[in-house]
Symmetry: C2
Subunit: 322 residues, 2 copies
């Protein structure tokens, strides 16, 4: 399987390292970072590319762009792992469309194009008889999209509840365990590298809402967008509220939930029994799916990390090939 | 997709009801219980068959046997859901072999043939270019085999730990929560219908060990059998031991574990941190898989029940078809 990788940040480099180390039968025949590109039908020299990147230089030729690679390179699957643009999904959406138009499979970790254009892009893939897969966009290493699309065939999904943002879960866990205030726990999350300098995207629930959009559209083909979701973040949660909850055998977590029968699509801090499988600690993610036949199922794992995201991308590639 | 169902107990009836109710594109063209069989290339009348069974009568013609159906009916997939025989796996193993020989897919919930002959039967399926699937043999509705075979492609599985017997987990949960003795909790489990009159198979860890055999052979192709597993049941666990564990923020659960690097294959009551994702309550099952790329993943759900088992069988059938 010949792939082209667009985006050579931590995820792109993670994918390249794994393909370089493990004998997976995948060869990288093109590669682009934001400033340059490389095409070699016989396979890129990954060690050199990684060394180049580590030394702060562009990975290839500044005259070769991502668009050149999408349009000209002879890959079987495009791996689109450029940074997320949640406003209009570009340039990733155009990359993905072009590749599908050329009847190439696409695997992406990019939330922008999928949250904004999942239905249109999936239809386009179908029309062109190729696959568009995006496991890495939701809950990192947990194969939740895979399970929803292939592992529970015949089941109707009647509800979904998820803890899908590790930063928020870390903050709430620390507030709960150590009695920290929100500001103290956020400062600690920053020190640990679990929160960005500007944490808005995470703590206001936007990241969780984007993942909820992707899951709801994947399961029910609702065609919803971020604007359809009622979103409340965790920045108003107090240590007192957590203490009260815990006196009752419950706790507070940021939950993304979708319930078709109630037409509910919401992200908010929720009170939840402390022994519910969904209550995970630290930066873990968890998703509970209710079904008509298989009952209630919970999937827990790491929601972020370059190796975990790379794992999801590689899983998608190998599932397409097999 | 035309299927033949062998075995018309609670699982077989559950599968038939679902196919009768949901529009899944599956038609049942043959059916056998232990005493009789039915073949109808245009599709069995399921309502009549279920009514017949409920009234205590054989489902079909006493001159038609399971072997007749396996050998003569024109199905695409055989659904083998007869009772488990863990001693020699018969007659299910012969049914499965015959169907594979006829180049028919096989889906089974039967632990006997898979625990005893998984490698041989899987090779046989491969040689005949058909599929043998057995999601329903392990952890009921949790699609753990699906995830191991398809959802984590490219990952090396470095360890597996599972709570795979609902009866044991119910007993330990009740001993822990209510301070009951083992005998009291077992009596309660019997009253609730969670334990058999003879609970040996569950409480001595044999059922867990059988599932561990199936998972280990599926993941690593070890070709191991029940005799290769070091098994200790829960019948010696005392309320005092549980209390001591809980004073330390831990609890005791019956864990099946497989760790290749330690050549470890063991079922035993283990002390485990109370907040570990694997610690589920009541009759739930849970499996934690450690991987080289996706980190540690935990899957939680109902481990038994006719609807849940039927869900796993139907998921396998639809995965084969799609």
């Amino acid at each position: 399987m010949r792939i082209a990788i667009l985006g050579f940040g931590s995820v792109g480099q993670g994918i390249a390292s794994i393909i370089n180390t493990k004998d997976l039968g995948i060869s990288i025949i093109a590669l682009a970072d934001s400033k340059s590109g490389l095409i070699n039908p016989n396979g890129i020299d990954i060690d050199t590319a990684l060394a180049q990147k580590r030394s702060g230089r562009p990975v290839g030729d500044s005259k070769i762009s991502g668009f050149d690679i999408v349009n000209k390179a002879e890959y079987d699957a495009l791996v689109e792992v450029t940074p997320t643009n949640i406003t209009n999904g570009e340039p990733a959406t155009t990359y993905i469309k072009k590749a599908l138009e050329r009847k190439k499979h696409v695997v992406t970790s990019n939330k922008g194009p999928i949250a904004l254009h999942q239905r249109e892009l999936s239809l386009y893939a179908q029309e062109n008889n190729v696959e568009l897969r995006y496991e890495a966009t939701v809950c990192g290493a947990i194969p939740v999209i895979h399970v929803l699309k292939h592992g529970l065939l015949g089941n109707d999904i009647t509800a979904l509840h998820g803890i899908m943002n590790g930063t928020c879960n870390y903050i709430l866990t620390r507030m709960s365990k150590e009695g920290l205030t929100y500001d103290q726990a956020l400062a600690e999350a920053r020190e640990m590298g679990y929160a960005e300098a500007d944490p808005t995207y995470d703590v206001k629930g936007i990241d969780t809402a984007i993942k909820l959009v992707i899951l709801a559209n994947t399961i029910w083909d609702w065609g919803v967008s971020l604007h359809d979701i009622d979103v409340t973040g965790i920045d108003q949660v107090t240590p007192d509220a957590l203490r009260l909850a815990e006196n009752d055998g419950t706790t507070i977590r940021l939950i993304g939930e979708a319930i078709p029968s109630k037409k509910l699509l919401r992200v908010s801090p929720r009170i939840i029994p402390i022994n519910h499988p969904l209550v995970v600690e630290g930066t873990l993610n968890a998703v509970t799916i209710n079904t008509d036949m298989a009952g209630s199922l919970t999937f827990i794992g790491k929601g972020a990390g370059s190796l975990e995201t790379a794992s999801a991308v590689i899983g998608d590639l190998l599932f397409i090939r097999d």
